[in-house]
Amino acid sequence: MHVTYTCKDGNARIRLLGEIDHHAARQISAEIGRIIDTHLPRSCTLDLSGVTFMDSSGIAVLLRAKRRAEEIDGSFSVEGAGPQIKRVMQTTGLARLISIR
């Protein structure tokens, strides 16, 4: 799992690459947290187009990222989710809590 990002004019784009499962979750959460804490972005977009798999371990990752972004009054959204991720987000109700582009 790789995490890369760009931050310009207060807009952070964080790109995840690989699979989000319990094995990877803690590291991903920590890296997202570090990026937000360092750049304090006004808007934070999580780009999931490079994520090939996500199970329910990803729910806490996404919710924590959203909470972190909103704690500093930023906005949070997710984009590029493939069909498998969308299905997990819909089945678990996560799709109602997080704005998906």
Binding site: D21, A25, F53, D55, S57, P83, R87
Partner: protein, 147 residues
């Protein structure tokens, strides 16, 4: 039901094996020529069951997990995920959406995903002895007008 083909996989409860187990399950199911969506459902459901063994059954130690797969008549694939760990006192409660004993890193949605993504889910557990999760999914035959 008679099995047309089967696999039996044993591995220790290391989190690195979550990816191994769900990929093995998907590879095995591939012989029924599933769609990518069906494969995604199977991978996800198996990942949830195996992660539960790693997180909940053996929270502080390494233990043994088995994943058995069978192809049954009628294009049905069955997976049985078993551990010899802590067990579940109240299975009905454990299966409820958002119920978790795993703290804030867990969502309590594992069983909900398994139930939605598979056609059948059976959970047997005994405290101190372990847990067995049986899941089945029918793969629609593509020649029957789906392709």
């Amino acid at each position: 039901m008679k099995a047309i083909n089967y696999i039996s996989v044993t591995f220790p409860s290391r989190s690195a094996n979550e990816a191994f187990a769900r990929t093995a399950a998907a590879c095995f199911a591939a012989q029924l020529d599933p769609t990518l969506d069906e494969l995604g459902d199977i991978k996800t459901a198996v990942s949830e069951a195996v992660t539960n063994c790693i997180v909940h059954a053996y929270p502080d130690s390494l233990g043994k997990i088995t994943l058995k797969g069978r192809i049954l008549e009628g294009g049905i694939v069955e997976f049985v995920i078993r551990d010899w760990g802590r067990g579940i006192a109240d299975v009905t409660q454990a299966r409820m959406p958002m119920y978790t004993t795993g703290g804030e890193e867990r969502s309590g949605m594992g069983f909900t995903i398994m139930e939605s993504f598979m056609d059948k889910l059976r959970v047997r557990s005994s405290v101190g002895k372990g847990t067995t999760v049986v899941m089945r999914r029918r793969i629609a035959s593509r020649s029957a007008g789906r392709d």
